[in-house]
Symmetry: C2
Subunit: 168 residues, 2 copies
DNA sequence: TCTGAAAATGAGTATGCTTATCAAAAGATG
DNA sequence: CATCTTTTGATAAGCATACTCATTTTCAGA
């Protein structure tokens, strides 16, 4: 996967947000996307991006706020709306109490989610290329049939994570 | 698609919840599922099932309450939790203000959702059998790999519905 | 068909996530 | 450097949803 000047994004387990050595490119791309909608890449927004990138899986807002004592809750809520609008962050809605956020697709490899119905934790997984491709084209056909203009798709697998299975 | 005594469920456009002539079977199955968790199929719960079945697409709670003047908001919230737990109704969370509900799979053919990011409306669509099958097995493999015990999957296509495209 | 215990209802209230407000701080513009 | 705009942060407000509890309904056993 290549972004910008040719930086390669690597995978952790199962997915990493970005290669540790290329932080700068993440911030450059984030700044660029914000500029596109006339928004600044402020210190607070940069810190949110760092936290999301370091996590490697979707975080709730309390988790984001708790991981950096300089972040004010109200600003995090507001900035995540801005980052979402800029295409830097993506909101993940589950039936849990808190929404979760992760970096958007150019920052993050295309993936899907394992949502634990017990603890609310969300992990990432990817589909084999062939399955993803046939799914994509089927979705395009379905949308076209209904006159629907698609922008994205989300695929979640709900169930119980290993920890909660062990817990009972 | 066959349920219980062999009743055939038909499709409207694009999906219907049940064939109008076989309402009784829907209620019998709902009652049976509630009984399984020691819950009664009361008049209020029956009305909710009727409203959901008649709609043919996922409804918000205000929509459900508004369509039947005998339904109290607090009871609808509480009963939808019960119906969800019994496996009669399914909750659909979008980024919109209200959650939406539809009848669960034995009542409804397996399908996915077109979620309009502008107006929040949710419509149904189905995938070709082959795509659905390869997706299913890919999901099973992915879950197994992570030690995740899957119960269900959800696939949403987000974008703009025809009405909102026309509106601008 | 009674009768009483258990469950469900409904109106109001409480909870808690999220968003709006607004004065102060930071940054851009010329 | 001066001014105008954007962003911030603490607080308050909004709002979907869950809880409370007295009343009503349901169902099992007599």
């Amino acid at each position: 996967m290549t972004i910008g000047t040719g930086t390669v994004f690597h995978l952790r387990s199962p997915l990493a947000s970005y290669h540790l050595g290329v932080k700068q490119d993440v911030h450059q791309l984030a700044a660029q996307r914000l500029r596109r909608i006339s928004q600044r890449y402020t210190a607070g927004r940069r810190r949110i991006v760092e936290v999301l990138a370091a996590a490697g899986h979707p975080l709730t807002i309390p988790e984001i706020v708790g991981s950096d004592s300089d972040l004010a809750t109200s600003s995090v809520y507001r900035n995540l709306v801005t980052l979402e609008h800029a295409g830097v962050a993506t909101r993940i809605v589950t039936s849990q109490e808190h929404a979760r956020f992760e970096l958007s697709e150019p920052f993050n490899r295309h993936h899907h989610h394992l949502v634990c119905v017990d603890c609310g934790k969300v992990d990432d997984f990817i589909l084999p290329k062939g399955v993803e491709e046939s799914l994509d084209s089927a979705l395009r056909r379905a949308a076209q049939k209904e006159g629907f203009a698609p922008t994205d798709h989300r695929l979640d697998l709900t169930g119980t994570c290993p920890d909660c299975q062990a817990a009972g």
